[in-house]
Amino acid sequence: MASDAHGEETGLSFHPMDQFLVKPLFGTGEVHWYTPTNVTLWLFIVAAAIIALLVAGTRGRAIVPSRVQSVAELAYGMTYKMVEDVTGKDGLKYFPYIMTLFMFIVFSNMLGLLPKAFTVTSHIAVTGVLALAVFVSVTVLGFVKNGTHFLGLFWVTSAPLVLRPILAVIEVISYFVRPVSHSIRLAGNMMAGHAVMKVFAGFAAIAVISPVSILAVTAMYGLEVLVAFIQAYVFTILTCVYLKDALHPQH
């Protein structure tokens, strides 16, 4: 990469992508499908954090909530309202799945911002599975709920008859691009932000530039906190939109 070439000339060393390496937790062997890796570790940390918030935090079942319980209730309320607003009442059946997705992504993104952390959502393998799961389940659900009427999603009846076949082609393409954009948007945002921070941090090795570098890292960090939440929100709301298409395919 360009930064590496540049780094060799000036004596600076940039390894912005090292943070995304998948390594076995124990030893240095090959990464088999079952090997516990740093991905495994951070997936478990994310799951543990979510369970700590949503299960341990609400242990009191208090009418007047503790701080942790109100955060859990806020997360619940926000996601519930999102599902209800976008998909309508009949989408609430799938709320637990969407809540799982949202909590998983937001916790991965946020915990990934901790120093030394591994961001699981920066990997296309992870976001790809998430997006494909949404795509496949929404498509299956659409056909199960509406039968062949689900294909009406691609047949824009409000357009003139001549344009409909062309629009149908465009609609089909855009439908199949959904999982790609859905997954790359999240992974790309996470990866880019973390890599940029790493590059800025690399410049801190030069004493003259280091104050600027630290300021830049701080600013980027603030931005990344925002991005971490927004991307989780975007992923979830898009899932809701796709779900709405499956439940009500009429435009």
């Binding site: 090959e30 609400t58 909530p65 619940y76 880019a192």
Partner: protein, 195 residues
């Protein structure tokens, strides 16, 4: 970004081959994108599915029903409290009305008692004044009677003295005392003087 992905994708193939060897030395691997190291995909996907399954199970079985229950409990409690508050407000209003009525009643009662007392006192006062008046009248009459007696006795005495003095004067002048003439003379002289 796209070009970056392409370059990375191009290097990914050779990358995959050397992945096993490169796992130990990260510095070498930093030239590519670890995201496109397909040898790690099965591992990531496997653990992701495990994590998501666990999370989904915990959320749908424990966490979300619990939070839903808490929220609906709270909703119920708030609604109940609001209704109770409405009831208490109604009661407070009734109590206030009762209090006002009692106050008004007490006020009229007090007024009545004051009026009754005033009338009674007035009556006693009137009686006392009448009594005092009659006593004063009686005393005045008695005093007048005594004054009259004193005056009459004074007139009689004066007449007696005048007669005696006249009789004596006549006698000392050597006249013969005619009692009847003296009396009539004194009487005629005293008329007007003793009134």
């Amino acid at each position: 970004m796209i070009s970056l992905l392409e370059t990375a994708a191009a290097t990914a193939a050779e990358h995959t081959e050397e992945a096993a060897a490169a796992a130990g030395h990260g510095a070498e691997q930093s030239s590519g994108m670890p995201q496109l190291d397909f040898s790690t995909f099965p591992n990531q996907i496997f653990w992701l599915i495990v994590t998501l399954a666990v999370l989904y199970w915990v959320l749908s079985r424990i966490a979300l029903p619990r939070i839903a229950a808490v929220l609906s409990d709270r909703q119920g409690a708030v609604t109940g409290d609001l209704m109770a508050a409405e009831e208490f407000k109604q009661k407070a209003k009734e109590a206030e009305a009762a209090y006002d009525k009692a106050l008004a009643d007490a006020r009229t009662e007090a007024h009545k008692i004051v009026e009754a007392n005033r009338a009674e006192i007035q009556k006693e006062l009137d009686a006392a004044i009448a009594h005092a008046d009659s006593e004063i009248a009686a005393r005045t009459a008695e005093s007048e009677k005594r004054i009259r007696e004193i005056r009459e006795s004074a007139a009689t005495d004066a007449r007696e003295v005048a007669r005696d003095v006249t009789a004596e004067l006549v006698r000392s002048f050597g006249g013969n005392v005619d009692q009847a003439a003296v009396d009539s003379a004194v009487e005629s002289r005293l008329k007007g003087a003793l009134q």
